[in-house]
Every structure is written in structure tokens, then in C-alpha cells.
């Protein structure tokens, strides 16, 4: 079980209000990702749920019971920290055993769970090493192992992959998703990286300055962002925003069009501009187009073989049914 409900939760540090009243329900077994720019209060929100910070007002319920004033240890939640927070003077085995030792689990059971976790996380050969003798990815797995053996009702992850290199990050992303499929336990995952959010989440919660901007599945957010902020945050490369006369033609203050929804041509199209930097990824190329009169830069995704060079003229045509319209408040409308 792991159903977590936040009811008008607020948090202030002194005079600074970090989380304005916030309501959120996380269902049992869901993989929820909190995503938002740095400093928007993601970690604070996670720490409130964990019980490492006291709420200023409001209520947190776990499985229907009021947990607002429960100490962290009593909430049956396990957390994986950004710094991993492994105990440096204990071996991997002792690190993983620590929560069970504190809970008074008997030795035989401890051994069984450690071995199961080590096997699942490929740590069997490293059980007698210290955290300092492990690579970043292995440390990450130890931290996850320490969380698993507690058999918590929900896992909390605070930017667990941000200290890993790119290749390892992709791997661990898969491993964590895999783990979620196996355990079917609620997971709350905090990240500033929208790619992680899109690839892992059942449900994404987009935060800005402590506010929830939108809650929904990855594709819902991609297809129907509620406002300009979500539209710009979800999707990579970023959506292009165009203001002025072109937007007015659509009856909007601003229109947004994703790089993958613009076709580029060497000969004709609706708009024209000059090719600036071209980023070649092999399969795709991202063209940064200048001097189009629409916006300073328009990013366009084209085929990897596209052969225009710096300074060439390029013609762009948007897919009309994929154009997003925003009003003066930045809200999207149909």
C-alpha cells in the first residue's frame, strides 16, 4: 500500500513561502515524477512527504492515516538521496542491513533480504567493500538496495541520477523503471530533467515556484500543455514561441510549435530564414534558424541527412494542427 495525499500543504522557511497551498494525490503503485526548474521546491516537497521537514500548515495522509506529525521512521517510506548518503565507514552489506538492524529484523531474515537485493542490483561481488571503493553507479545501487530491504510502502528519489555520467544515467533510468515494474510499489521521483520525467513517469507533476502547473501523463503534457511554462518545459528541444502578427493570425497572443512539427525545405515554405548552428545527432539534425522575422531563433528538427549549411536560406512550414495557441495570460486554448 502506498497512497499519499497532500491536503492544502504549505511550507515557509522564515518569511519565505516555498510551497503555497498544494493539493496532490498519489495513488498506490504509481510512478510519479516531480519535475521543475532548480529551486522550485521539488526537494522541499519530497522532504515534507518524507517527514524530514515539518509542514507549516495542511495535512499529509499516507494510506488514509494522518501522517502530518509522524516522525520519518514511522511513515514506512524509503528515500534515496542525491548524494546517496551511504554510511562511509560501513561495508555495503552493513549499509544495506542498517535499516533492518534498526527495525530489529532477525539475522536470518536480514541475510536473506540482503542477498536478494544484492542479486537484483548486481552487488553480490561488492558486499564487503566500503562505499568509497565503488563507482557512482554502484553507490547508487547500494542506496537503492538500502531502500528496498525495508519493504517500504513508497520510495522517494531526490534527483538520484544527477551525479552520474550520461550513459550510466540512461542505464539507471531503465533499471529504476524495471524495479518499479517488479515491485509495483509507489515511487515518487524528483528531477529537473524533463527527459527523465517523460521516460519514467506514469504521472508527471510540473512545479514552478512551489505551484503545481499541471498534473498528467507524459503524453498528455506533451500534447496538451496547460500553459506556456509547461509547453516550454516538456519536450526537447524546447517548443518555439512566436508572438506578434503571425500569432494574431491564429487569434492568439502567442503560438507555440515544437521543432518536430515544422518541416524544412530548401526550395519553398511558409516562412524563410537563415541557417545558424546545426546540431547533428546522426538520426536527426536540429537546425537553429535565424532572421525569420518570427522569433530570434526557431529550432527545427530535420532528417539527419539534411544538407544545408551555415548561412544558407531555409524555408519552414509548420504542421497547422500541431500549433498551440496561448492567450495573454499564457494559458493554452483550443
Amino acid at each position: 500500500m502506498g497512497r499519499i495525499t497532500l491536503d492544502k500543504v504549505t511550507k515557509s522557511f522564515g518569511d519565505v513561502n516555498v510551497i503555497p497551498p498544494l493539493d496532490l494525490t498519489i495513488n498506490d503503485g504509481e510512478f510519479v515524477v516531480f519535475v521543475g526548474p532548480s529551486g522550485c521546491g521539488k526537494s522541499t516537497l519530497l522532504r515534507l512527504i518524507a517527514g524530514l521537514e515539518d509542514v507549516t500548515s495542511g495535512q499529509i495522509r499516507i494510506d488514509g492515516e494522518d501522517a502530518t506529525n509522524l516522525p520519518p521512521a514511522k511513515r514506512k517510506l524509503a528515500m534515496v538521496f542525491q548524494s546517496y548518503a551511504l554510511y562511509p565507514h560501513m561495508s555495503v552489506r552493513k549499509n544495506i542491513a542498517f535499516p533492518m538492524k534498526m527495525a530489529g529484523v532477525d539475522e536470518a531474515e536480514q541475510k536473506k533480504r540482503i542477498e536478494a537485493a544484492a542479486k537484483a542490483l548486481n552487488l553480490t561481488d561488492y558486499l564487503d567493500r566500503r562505499p568509497g571503493q565503488l563507482s557512482g553507479g554502484q553507490r547508487q545501487r547500494v542506496a537503492i538496495g538500502r531502500a528496498i530491504v525495508r519493504e517500504p510502502s513508497a520510495f522517494l528519489f531526490d534527483e538520484p541520477l544527477s551525479n552520474l555520467d550520461a550513459a550510466l544515467r540512461v542505464n539507471m533510468r531503465l533499471e529504476i523503471s524495471e524495479l518499479h515494474n517488479q515491485l509495483e510499489t509507489t515511487m515518487i521521483y524528483v528531477t529537473h530533467d524533463q527527459v527523465e520525467a517523460m521516460t519514467m513517469a506514469d504521472k508527471i507533476v510540473v512545479l514552478r515556484a512551489g505551484h503545481i502547473e499541471q498534473v498528467g501523463s507524459p503524453l498528455e503534457l506533451y500534447r496538451a500543455p496547460r500553459n506556456k511554462f509547461v509547453a516550454g518545459f516538456i519536450g526537447s528541444p524546447k517548443m518555439n514561441f512566436i508572438e506578434g502578427a503571425v500569432a494574431q493570425q491564429h487569434g492568439a497572443e502567442t503560438i507555440g510549435i515544437r521543432p518536430e512539427h515544422i518541416t524544412a525545405s530548401e526550395t519553398d515554405g511558409m516562412w524563410s530564414g537563415k541557417v545558424g548552428v546545426a546540431e547533428h545527432l546522426g538520426s536527426d539534425t536540429f537546425l537553429h534558424v535565424h532572421d525569420s522575422g518570427l522569433a530570434e531563433t526557431i529550432t527545427v528538427r530535420v532528417n539527419g541527412e539534411f544538407s544545408l549549411r551555415h548561412g544558407d536560406t531555409v524555408y519552414l512550414t509548420p504542421e497547422m494542427d500541431k500549433v498551440h495557441k496561448f492567450d495573454a495570460q499564457g494559458l493554452r486554448f483550443e
Binding site: G51, P72, F81, Y87, H89
Partner: protein
């Protein structure tokens, strides 16, 4: 330091310091060894020639030798125990966010800046004097007979005075160590269900291991040779004669340089024995 050139340049630049240090150490050591094999009485005939190991034998067989070793070790052990335990306690307290933290920290450090002679005098006259010391007033206030600290509880008094001097050092080192403890580790332990005492035992204390080792090793070096505190308070009487005090008496009071030098060599040996033991016990904490 990669190339041949930069390595030899480095050696050249380190040479003055190394030579100075070597000279600083070797000259007194050689002279001590030299005099320890001589009968040398400055006021009573000067250099009276070589005597072999006579000084060494006389020094150990004197009735003051073993008690002085015991006294030395008792003072070192007692002060270490008090400063480490209280130092950890104070460091934890000072690490809590509180009003006036800066001033409190400076006040805690202050005793370290008081010269040993001065602090011993202050303790002797202002606190421990049986007639007008503050402690005697305190005892009288509760209707008790004032204690003659320096004669009746001489070792306790000296250990107290020296601990008071060294507590700031221990606190300072331990405080910086506590500040470097990653708070996420404590939070992780809290989520893992560890109570505050268990978090201290399993997380904070092991983290402090290295700092405690440093405190113990450095303090031992200085405590083995404490002198001023004893000279000013008891003058070596009432069972407070340490090895270094005994050497002082032999050289200056009995004017027997040869005998004192032999004692100096014993002091070096004692210091090394203590060092070996300490490194056995706590040295592994220094490995990264």
C-alpha cells in the same frame, strides 16, 4: 612534480627547511646523548669525564623514577579522556544553531590563548586556594569543609587545570569535523529508523574517528612534556612529579646535567612507547 627538472627544483627548495629542522632536532639530541654518558656537575667541578651507563642506572633505580612515569601517564590519560568526552559534547552543542553562536564559539576557544603559567596561577589562586578561592566559597556555601585542592587532591587538580586548557583545542577540532558531516547521512539514518542516540553511535561517532585520533595524538605529544602547570602549582610535590619534572629537578635543582640527560633519553623512550601504543590503537583511523 612530473619532470626530472621540477623534482630537483622541489628538492632544492625544500632543502633549507629540511636542514634547519634536522639541525634543530639533531643538535639537542646529540648533546643529550653526549652528556648522558658523562659526569657533569656545572657548579661542583664541571666535566668530570666519561662514566659509561652509570647515569642511566642511577636514574632508573632512583625511587622517584617509576612513580614519575605513572604520574605522567595518569595525567596524559586523564586529560585525554576528559577533553575528548567533553570536547565531543561541546562540539555537538556548538554545532546547534543558536543565538550568539559566534561569540559563544570565541569564548569557548579563549582558554587556549591563555599561557599555561598564567592559567595555572589563576586556578591556583582564584579557584583552588583553600582560604579565598572561589571553590572554597562554594563549598562553604553548602556548609562543607573547603578542600585543600593542591595538596589533598593534587592529581585531580592538575588534571582539571590541564584539561581546561586543552578542552578548547579538542572542541575546535571536533567541531570542524562535525560540521563536515553530511547532513543527508543523518537524515538517511533517521529515515532508516535510528533514534538520536543510535544516530550518534552509528553515524556521528565513526565520522569523528579521525578527528578524535588527531586530538589524541597531538595532545599526547604536548601532555607528555607539561611542566609549567606543575611548576606553578605543586612544584612537583604531593605525587605530581612527572618524568619531565623529575628531569628538571635533576638538572637544575641537583645541578647534575649527566643524570638529567639520561632521564631525557628515558623520556624519549617513554614517548615512543606511548606513540607505538597509540598508533596501534587509533592509528588505523588515519588511513583514508
Amino acid at each position: 612534480m612530473a619532470t626530472q627538472h621540477s623534482r630537483s627544483a622541489a628538492r632544492l627548495m625544500m632543502a633549507p627547511a629540511v636542514i634547519l629542522l634536522l639541525g634543530w632536532m639533531l643538535v639537542p639530541l646529540t648533546m643529550t646523548l653526549y652528556f648522558s654518558f658523562k659526569k657533569y656537575l656545572p657548579m661542583r667541578g664541571g666535566d668530570l669525564g666519561w662514566v659509561g651507563f652509570e647515569n642511566y642506572i642511577r636514574f632508573v633505580t632512583s625511587s622517584s623514577f617509576w612513580p614519575s612515569v605513572v604520574t605522567t601517564l595518569t595525567i596524559v590519560g586523564g586529560v585525554l579522556l576528559i577533553t575528548v568526552v567533553l570536547g565531543i559534547f561541546l562540539a555537538i552543542l556548538l554545532n546547534q544553531p543558536m543565538w550568539g553562536q559566534g561569540i559563544v564559539r570565541i569564548l569557548v576557544i579563549a582558554p587556549f590563548f591563555v599561557m599555561p603559567t598564567v592559567s595555572a596561577l589563576v586556578w591556583k589562586n582564584m579557584f583552588m586556594d583553600p582560604n579565598y578561592g572561589l571553590l572554597s566559597y562554594l563549598w562553604e556555601f553548602f556548609g562543607a569543609q573547603p578542600v585543600e585542592w593542591l595538596s589533598k587532591a593534587s592529581m585531580t587538580s592538575i588534571i582539571t587545570i590541564v584539561s581546561w586548557q586543552w578542552l578548547p583545542f579538542a572542541t575546535l577540532i571536533l567541531l570542524t569535523a562535525i560540521q563536515s558531516l553530511d547532513s543527508e547521512q543523518l537524515e538517511a539514518a533517521e529515515m532508516d529508523g535510528a533514534s538520536a542516540p543510535k544516530r550518534f553511535a552509528y553515524i556521528t561517532l565513526p565520522h569523528l574517528g579521525r578527528a578524535i585520533t588527531v586530538v589524541i595524538l597531538i595532545q599526547t605529544i604536548f601532555l607528555l612534556s607539561i611542566f609549567a602547570e606543575i611548576f606553578v602549582t605543586t612544584g612537583g610535590a604531593f605525587g605530581t612529579k612527572t618524568l619531565s619534572y623529575l628531569i628538571f629537578q635533576r638538572v637544575l635543582e641537583s645541578q647534575n646535567v649527566g643524570l638529567g640527560s639520561a632521564g631525557g633519553v628515558y623520556a624519549i623512550i617513554l614517548a615512543n612507547i606511548v606513540a607505538i601504543f597509540l598508533m596501534r590503537i587509533v592509528g588505523k583511523n588515519l588511513d583514508a
